[in-house]
């Protein structure tokens, strides 16, 4: 599975290639609320979104919600699913709680919503690295048949975010391992805890593309070919460009 990048001209670390292979395999499998084919269709919509004419018009508008229309899509998913995948991909810095509430009112569950966000995030993380290196994006995987698990953490409840999340004290056996045992989890770790499998999968990717949690504040040594300061400058500049305060 780690031969994903075998033909590239760059020395991509084995652990990084393996993390991408795991992420791709997980996207292909049935998730918690969407099956494998639907998850791959969500990833495909995330890739299509930058060329969607409606998304382009909204991106250029002072207020994206003032622009109505239909997304250019592959036609495999309901329009509301496409709306979420495209907006999260193309204009995340202007998403608001009113938009989220409207999406839920139009028929998506919070669980379905979180899983869409996660699949888009996985796709963006992997595709952005490819763009940085000038590589073609990886072909999407072939879906694995099966049904979603429909697991919902019993301790999930409304907290500080728009979506329900699981506080560490409310974590059951299944979701306990998604949080670090030696410190309180950052809100970004709790953000998708309504779907624990997505937290595990996404932070597996983050660990290998960025740093493991324990390495983030270990300034006694460097873990990559670039230093902590260089890593954090990149990270902070990306967040500023995306207009993300978090």
């Amino acid at each position: 599975m780690t031969d994903l990048y075998a033909s590239t001209p760059f020395p991509i670390r084995d652990d990084l290639a393996a993390a991408h292979a795991r992420a791709w395999a997980r996207i292909a499998r049935p998730g918690t609320r969407w099956d494998g084919a639907e998850r791959i269709a969500i990833a495909a919509e995330a890739r299509l979104a930058p060329s969607c004419k409606l998304c382009r018009r909204r991106k250029e508008a002072l207020s994206p919600l003032s622009i109505e229309g239909t997304h250019d899509s592959l036609g495999q998913l309901a329009e509301i699913v496409v709306e979420v995948a495209h907006r999260v991909r193309t204009d995340p810095g202007r998403l608001g709680e009113g938009w989220y509430r409207d999406v839920i009112a139009r028929g998506l569950t919070a669980e379905q919503y979180v899983e869409i966000v996660s699949v888009v995030a996985h796709t963006v993380a992997i595709d952005t690295m490819a763009r940085g290196l000038g590589l073609e994006v990886l072909p999407l995987p072939v879906s694995v048949p099966g049904s979603p698990s429909h697991y919902r953490p019993s301790g999930a409840k409304v907290g500080g975010a728009w979506v329900p999340w699981v506080e560490p004290a409310d974590a059951g056996e299944v979701e306990a391992a998604i949080y670090p045992s030696d410190r309180l989890p950052a809100n970004i770790m709790k953000a998708m805890s309504l779907i624990p499998a997505e937290v595990r999968s996404f932070f597996d990717l983050v660990t290998h593309q960025y740093l493991p949690g324990e390495a983030m504040r270990d300034f006694s040594r460097e873990y990559q070919a670039i230093s902590h300061a260089q890593i954090e400058l990149l990270a902070a500049r990306v967040s500023a460009l995306n207009r993300c305060l978090y």
């Binding site: 020395p11 009113g98 999340w165 996404f202 670039i226 993300c244």
Partner: protein, 116 residues
């Protein structure tokens, strides 16, 4: 905040204005100008600018540095989306620790709570 923490560990002061683009240059981070140009090009849409930034960064940091830089840009481009799409707030301790430079750099204009 981790950029500042890294600087404190090594007794260096990084100019955080490099983060917002208000300051041209490296911000005190080795090869910071190339890293910022690379991040801007990856997030942007100008493929020619990206090709130039990629060559410049590889010249400065070597192929391993380029791969790791591209790797880092990826998850942060994604983490921003998770944060913005789920409406998570900044943790109180992070808000307190970042209060001074959020004001200095006018970062609170990006606060999620103000969005419709």
């Amino acid at each position: 905040m981790l950029l500042r923490a890294s600087g404190r560990t090594y007794d260096k002061t990084y100019d955080l204005a490099a983060v917002t683009g208000a300051l041209a240059g490296d911000g005190g981070v080795p090869e910071g100008d190339h890293l910022v140009a690379f991040a801007e090009a990856v997030i942007g849409e100008d493929d020619g600018a990206l090709a130039r930034a990629r060559v410049a960064l590889m010249t400065a940091l070597g192929p391993l540095g380029l791969v790791d830089a591209a790797g880092v840009v990826g998850p942060f481009n994604a983490i921003d989306r998770v944060a913005d799409a789920t409406g998570i707030p900044l943790e109180p301790e992070k808000a307190a620790a970042s209060a001074d430079f959020r004001v200095a750099l006018d970062l609170d204009r990006l606060a999620i709570v103000d969005r419709i």
